[in-house]
């Protein structure tokens, strides 16, 4: 798991090709959505709402995999499982990991966009 890269270069190259001019919009949308999702996850954990927690984690997982962030996707899969199994007490360390990984992904994507905008 730790072997999974922050970004899947190949997938992102393909996305860039498909999205053309909209690639930047896509990345911005993903980053904004993800921030909201992390907030939602924290809020759900606070309210002990395992169902909302699992659903948000599920969506976050899907979009992270699609965008080409496999490591983040895997972390999302783990917290989705925590939500589904109603083990929210196990969530905090995973959420911290997600926070950290998201910082990494954000930085990497910003770099990528800066590069492609040249």
């Amino acid at each position: 798991m730790a072997d999974l890269p922050h970004l899947d270069e190949e997938a992102l190259a393909e996305l860039q090709d498909v999205m053309e001019d909209e690639f930047a919009t896509l990345i911005r949308t993903y980053l904004n959505d993800s921030k909201e999702r992390i907030t939602s996850l924290k809020s759900a954990m606070k309210h002990r709402d395992a169902d909302a927690f699992a659903k948000t984690a599920h969506s976050f997982k899907g979009s992270s995999i699609n965008i080409g962030a496999p490591h983040l996707g895997e972390l999302c899969r783990q917290i989705e499982k925590v939500g589904l199994e109603e083990r929210l007490s196990d969530a905090p360390p995973l959420l911290s990991a997600i926070d950290a990984e998201f910082q990494q992904v954000t930085a990497a994507l910003e770099t990528l966009m800066a590069g492609s905008a040249e």
Binding site: A11, E14, V18, Y30, K55, S59, G62, N66, I67
Partner: protein, 575 residues
């Protein structure tokens, strides 16, 4: 279906995903493939877009807020009705029960995240092929339904037209019993009966090769010829010739019509029969003697006019005698073992008929017992006609209203047939037609026809052919009479029958004077017993007792002239 054609058509695709980035990617991928995309962020929006945009294919995320993908799929499938709109779930779900839930909600397949361009393209194309196939099938089905509906409607109309042409005539008369399926027109069997202008009846039953519409179409002209000609006074032979000629002309080579024609003459207690290809006709005498009258001719619609023999076989009969006509359906009734009722079955049933049972009931009962069924197939026709006293016969003359046209009132007409025509042509319908131009006479067509046919038949058979009427009173003589009749008709050289009509108006009606003269030797009318006394039982050498008595009853006066070969009849009618 052409795969490349299916792939090249741009489709209208609805996608629903609550994840904005996923939606952006999917939309871009589908647009790349050349399709138009409607997008929704939740199930509720997806259903609204579906109603407004009528997309060809729907891609749904399974888990969405404000109505999830499964509920959206259910509603979309309900809205689509009979239209096949593939619903594909786009999901990263992998638990079997979750996937099964998607299918149960109406989903047709899955696309997994992360998206794969090749898989998306292949899935969309595969489901589009299914969609087009389904469309083609349901178009075909709708077309078939519509054609079928049209066909049934047309048959319904055809049936009404047919019923108007091929009505049952006088089959409801007290002396007729019959079984004919109500669906018989499309089975190929026909049964007609018509009263004759001079009393008596004509009955025709036929069995077409083939079934359904072609047989019904063939039956139409038969019905028209039969009823049209019978009411105008044509005899059975005339009508058979006409029907045969029509069928030869209109039917395809492998189609023809087996048929039986029967002239029922109550006044002269005589049956004239023609059987072309139908099972034996059975005559059951009131004395319980039974005779089978087999087919002696080819069916109708085969022989050309000059090869066709329409000569009818004369059978002497008495009141109480019964004649059974049937189509092949009777012989072809099968029991559970597949054995046929056959001629044996018919013969056996008829032989078991006793004096107090009706042969119609006996035969029907035997068929029911044999087949073990209460209902018969469509192509079974059975008809029984009973000879009755003429007096017991209800008058079947048609009610004809007085025409508003005055018609001819003062006229004279001579008509003579001679030589071989005497044996080949029946002038009675023509002569009746001339008389029927007078509106006052039209209401008396039966009586006028009777007068004309008695005069003509006497002139021909007794005058020209010199056949003694007393021959007809013994079975051997009867046969001899009719064989001599057709023999002598070949030797009529130098002979003639001349009709002379004169019609005048009278204060309250009119008077028709008919003089019928033949080239025969005449007879000693001064000493004819019927003319001397009222004893009808006696018969003279020239006029049969009944024939002359009939004339005397109908006419104002009858006078014989010359050597007895010229008869003058005065017939008066009143308003």
């Amino acid at each position: 279906m052409d795969e490349s054609a299916a792939e090249n058509v741009p489709l209208n695709i609805l996608i629903a995903d609550d994840s904005d980035s996923d939606r952006l990617i999917l939309k871009a991928l589908l647009k790349r493939l050349g399709h138009q995309v409607l997008d929704a962020a939740n199930g509720h929006e997806a259903v609204l877009h579906f109603q407004q945009g009528a997309p060809d294919i729907v891609l749904l995320d399974a888990l969405m807020p404000a109505m999830d993908g499964m509920e959206a799929a259910r509603q979309i499938k309900r809205l689509a009705g009979e239209r096949f709109v593939p619903v594909i779930f786009v999901t990263s779900l992998s638990e079997p029960e979750d996937l099964a839930g998607c299918l149960e909600a109406g989903g047709d397949g899955f696309l997994s995240k992360p998206y794969n361009r090749l898989m998306i393209k292949a899935k969309i194309n595969a489901f589009n092929r299914m969609r087009l196939m389904h469309q083609a099938l349901s178009d075909q089905r709708d077309l078939t339904h519509e054609r079928n509906r049209q066909l049934l409607e047309e048959q319904h109309v055809a049936r009404r037209v047919f019923d108007n042409v091929a009505h049952t005539g006088c089959l409801d008369a007290a002396n007729i019993r019959y079984h004919a399926s109500p669906l018989s027109i499309f089975s190929g069997d026909v049964l007609f009966a018509s009263p004759r202008p001079a009393g008596g009846m004509l009955i025709f039953t036929g069995d077409f090769t083939g079934h359904g519409l072609p047989a019904a179409i063939g039956a139409m002209p038969i019905a028209e010829s039969f009823y049209g000609m019978a009411s105008k006074g044509f005899d059975g032979s005339d009508i058979l010739r006409e029907i045969n000629q029509k069928l030869v002309r209109i039917l395809p080579k492998d189609m023809f019509c087996c048929g039986v024609m029967v002239e029922v003459d109550f006044a002269h207690n005589q049956l004239n029969i023609w059987n072309g290809g139908l099972p034996d006709i059975w005559l059951i005498r009131s004395t319980m003697e039974q005779y089978a009258l087999p087919s002696r001719h080819l069916p109708l619609g085969i022989l050309s006019a000059n090869q066709f023999n329409a000569e009818m076989e004369a059978v002497r009969s008495r009141p109480g005698d019964r004649l059974l006509l049937m189509t092949d359906g009777v012989l072809e009734c099968a029991n559970r073992e597949g054995q046929l009722f056959g001629e044996q079955g018919v013969r056996h049933a008829i032989e078991s008929t006793s004096a107090d049972s009706h042969p119609f009931d006996v035969l029907m009962g035997a068929i029911k017992q044999f087949t073990g069924q209460q209902k018969f197939g469509d192509d079974l026709t059975l008809c029984c006609v009973e000879m009755v006293e003429e007096a017991g016969q209800t008058t079947l003359t048609e009610e004809v209203g007085l025409s508003t046209l005055a018609g001819p009132s003062q006229w004279h007409c001579d008509y003579e047939i001679r030589e071989n025509t005497l044996g080949e042509f029946n002038p009675l319908p023509l002569l009746l037609h001339i008389c029927m131009e007078v509106p006052g006479l039209r209401r008396k067509s039966g009586e006028v026809y009777t007068l004309l046919s008695e005069l003509y038949n006497n002139a021909l058979e007794h005058g020209v052919l010199r056949l003694p009427s007393d021959w007809k009173y013994t079975p051997e003589g009867f046969e001899r009479y009719y064989s001599e009749r057709s023999e002598r008709l070949n030797r009529v050289s130098g002979h003639y029958i001349r009709f002379s009509f004169q019609h005048d108006l009278m204060p309250s009606g009119g008077r028709l004077r008919v003089v019928c003269e033949d080239s025969g030797q005449g007879f000693d009318f001064h000493s004819h017993p019927v003319l001397q006394s009222t004893d009808m039982a006696q018969s003279g050498p020239r006029y049969g007792g009944r024939g002359l008595a009939l004339l005397m009853r109908l006419a104002e006066s009858i006078r014989f002239h010359g050597k007895g070969n010229r008869v003058e009849v005065i017939y008066d009618w009143f308003i």
